[in-house]
């Protein structure tokens, strides 16, 4: 069965970059969060350049729902076990407040950035500290 999301992964300056696409219709599937989260974890592990590697998640969609937050949280737990950080880029503007209210963005090691470049710079800065 073809998945209703698409994730591409690559390594950039020692961090794993995941670009995530999904359709608005797929958000109605309550199982999407778990599948998407596990797939992101699998790709993070498969590309892991070394211990403590951070992960930049680039969301390429206009809407989000709790299933996406669930997937991000699953990834966050894995990345934190590796002592890395998660940087979120492109999360739909309208849902940023929900993300803050759910508390995910206030967890240690979970950050947002305006662009992938900014996220990578912030990761380098925190590693050099």
């Amino acid at each position: 069965m073809p998945e209703d999301f698409n994730i591409t992964s690559r390594i950039e300056r020692g961090s794993v970059v995941l670009s995530v696409q999904y359709s608005p219709e797929s958000l109605r599937d309550p199982g999407l969060g778990e599948r998407l989260g596990l797939e992101m974890v699998r790709l993070y592990e498969a590309n892991l350049p070394g211990p403590g590697a951070s992960c930049v998640v680039v969301i390429q969609a206009a809407v989000a729902a709790s299933v996406i937050v669930r997937a991000l949280y699953t990834l966050y737990q894995k990345v934190r076990k590796q002592a890395g950080q998660v940087f979120l880029v492109g999360f739909p503007e309208d849902c940023m407040r929900s993300l803050a209210m759910l508390g995910l963005s206030s967890l240690r090691g979970f950050n947002s950035a305006e662009s992938e470049e900014q996220a990578l710079k912030l990761i380098s800065a925190s590693e050099n500290r």
Partner: protein, 255 residues
């Protein structure tokens, strides 16, 4: 006790009428000159049932306005400045004003709470469609909405966690509304003090200046103390509701 509260409407009384009465009473005491009440109105005031009903209605209305203001203000205070769409000096000024009127200590997030909140959003989406996650944008109200969904499940209504969380929510509503009413009382008293002491404006007749000072400072201090208490009640409500998510009562029952 809970049944009694529901029957007598004491929930409404404490959440709306009590703060509304405090504000209404302070406005009447500090600004209304009995000599200036028109004779027509004075005749109506001689009928205690009418007077009582009018005051109750006015206090209830004031309480609703206060409650909406308190919830909206707390919601705005808790939203990071970047998401409020303001920057620089305006963000700083707005933050200061919001903190003065609506400061409260929000519950700290750890992984248990975040995971439970995601479960709540998922449950609400199962019932209310994709708006579920957006409902979390009303941080003071969405937990009780989730509990309403849970309460619809067989046997859930008597769940002690549910009752305790509802009770904490009632206290939170009371504390937020009353704290804002007390702040308004304090500010009015201080304004009244300034008007009479600095600008020598003595109309309408003044209460003692010392009393005005005490009411002013005491009102503001009591408001901050109540908001501190509101933060504690909110944390308790959140923890209890998060505990309810561990028992999944929202899955539709099998026929």
């Amino acid at each position: 006790m809970k049944d009694l509260i529901e029957k007598l409407g004491l929930d409404e009384f404490f959440t709306f009428v009590a703060p509304g009465s405090v504000l209404l009473g302070s406005v009447i005491a500090l600004w209304v000159d009995p000599a200036m009440v028109p004779p027509g109105l004075r005749a109506i005031l001689k009928h205690p049932p009418i007077l009582f009903a009018a005051l109750l209605l006015a206090a209830y209305t004031c309480g609703h306005v206060l409650s909406l203001w308190a919830e909206g203000g707390a919601d705005r205070y808790l939203t990071p400045a970047s998401l409020r769409g303001v920057r620089g000096a305006l963000a700083f000024f707005q933050g200061g004003v919001l903190a003065f009127f609506h400061w409260m200590s929000p519950p700290k997030h750890d992984e248990f709470i975040v995971e439970a909140k995601i479960r709540i959003a998922e449950s609400l989406e199962r019932y209310g469609g994709l708006a579920g996650v957006r409902l979390s944008e009303n941080p003071l109200g969405w937990l009780s909405l989730y509990r309403s969904v849970v309460a619809g499940r067989p046997g859930a209504k008597d769940n002690p966690l549910l009752q305790a969380a509802d009770s904490a929510h009632r206290r939170l509503g009371f504390a937020l509304g009353t704290s804002l009413a007390l702040l308004c009382v304090g500010l009015q008293a201080l304004l009244r003090f300034l008007l009479s002491f600095v600008w020598q404006l003595a109309r309408p007749p003044l209460p003692a200046l010392g009393l005005l000072c005490i009411v002013g400072v005491g009102g503001v201090a009591a408001s901050f103390a109540l908001r501190w208490a509101a933060g504690r009640w909110w944390r308790q409500e959140l923890l209890l509701t998060c505990a309810i998510t561990q028992i999944d009562l929202t899955t539709p029952a099998k026929p």
